[in-house]
């Protein structure tokens, strides 16, 4: 079980801010593929990975990162702070 968080338009497209996901995915990319296969709203959120960023346990990483030991994965668009 892993906590999956969504922010900004990723959150809006998927329709929720976070959920617990039962997964055997080995990498972030595998998790994205699993979610995309689930429902159209996930496919809509993940259709262009180059427009997305991912953090594992609150550290920025990339889609090839392994999920082993991760408690929390977050997906969001490029940040626009400041």
């Amino acid at each position: 079980m892993i906590d999956v968080l969504y922010f900004a338009w990723v959150r809006e497209r998927i329709g929720l801010p976070r959920e617990r996901v039962e997964t055997g995915a080995e990498t972030v990319a595998d998790l994205v593929a699993e979610l995309t296969a689930r429902e159209e709203r996930y496919a809509a959120a993940f259709q262009d990975l180059s427009a997305l960023r991912v953090a594992i346990d609150q550290e920025l990483t990339d889609f090839s990162a392994p999920l082993a030991g991760a408690r929390e994965v977050a997906f969001f668009p490029p940040m626009t702070g400041g």
Partner: protein, 145 residues
């Protein structure tokens, strides 16, 4: 370093920050203010953030800046939630012996806050709402550090 929904007073923060300096002659501040969209009609801005990550991401940037430019001190305040036109979104302040360090560190912090701290801005107008897109120049600005 503070991430908060409540408004704050940048002038009072600047004065407090400056008064706390024992031997730093140079203080630089940056404030970001909600401005209208190029096409006008902004009602308000909504700022979303990733609470768990925001604190650690900003703390990491501040630590890097303090070490790299021998800062005497650094301050970051960033709001989230709904902000009206003219409200101050965030501020950064840096203090150093010499102005070049204070300026460089403030610019570094702003570049990193802009593209590496987990905040997202949405502009809300009467005609609808849109997420602010990241600018290529902002990502490119990180390259200089």
């Amino acid at each position: 370093m503070r991430v908060q929904e409540a408004a704050f007073d940048p002038g009072a923060e600047l004065n407090r920050f400056s008064a706390a300096q024992q031997n730093a002659g140079a203080v630089v501040s940056f404030s970001g203010i909600v401005r209208d969209r190029p096409e006008g009609g902004l009602l308000h801005m909504e700022i979303e953030h990733y609470p768990g990550m925001t604190q650690s991401a900003i703390a990491g940037m501040v630590e890097t800046a303090v070490a790299r430019w021998s800062l005497a001190d650094a301050l970051v305040i960033h709001r989230h939630g709904a902000l009206k036109r003219g409200e101050v979104i965030m501020m950064v302040a840096t203090a150093a012996r010499h102005r070049a360090d204070a300026f460089a560190a403030a610019e570094f912090l702003m570049d990193y806050l802009k593209s590496r701290a987990p905040f997202w801005k949405k502009e809300v107008g009467a005609d609808g709402a849109a997420w602010v897109a990241a600018r290529d120049e902002d990502e490119a600005a990180l390259g200089r550090w």
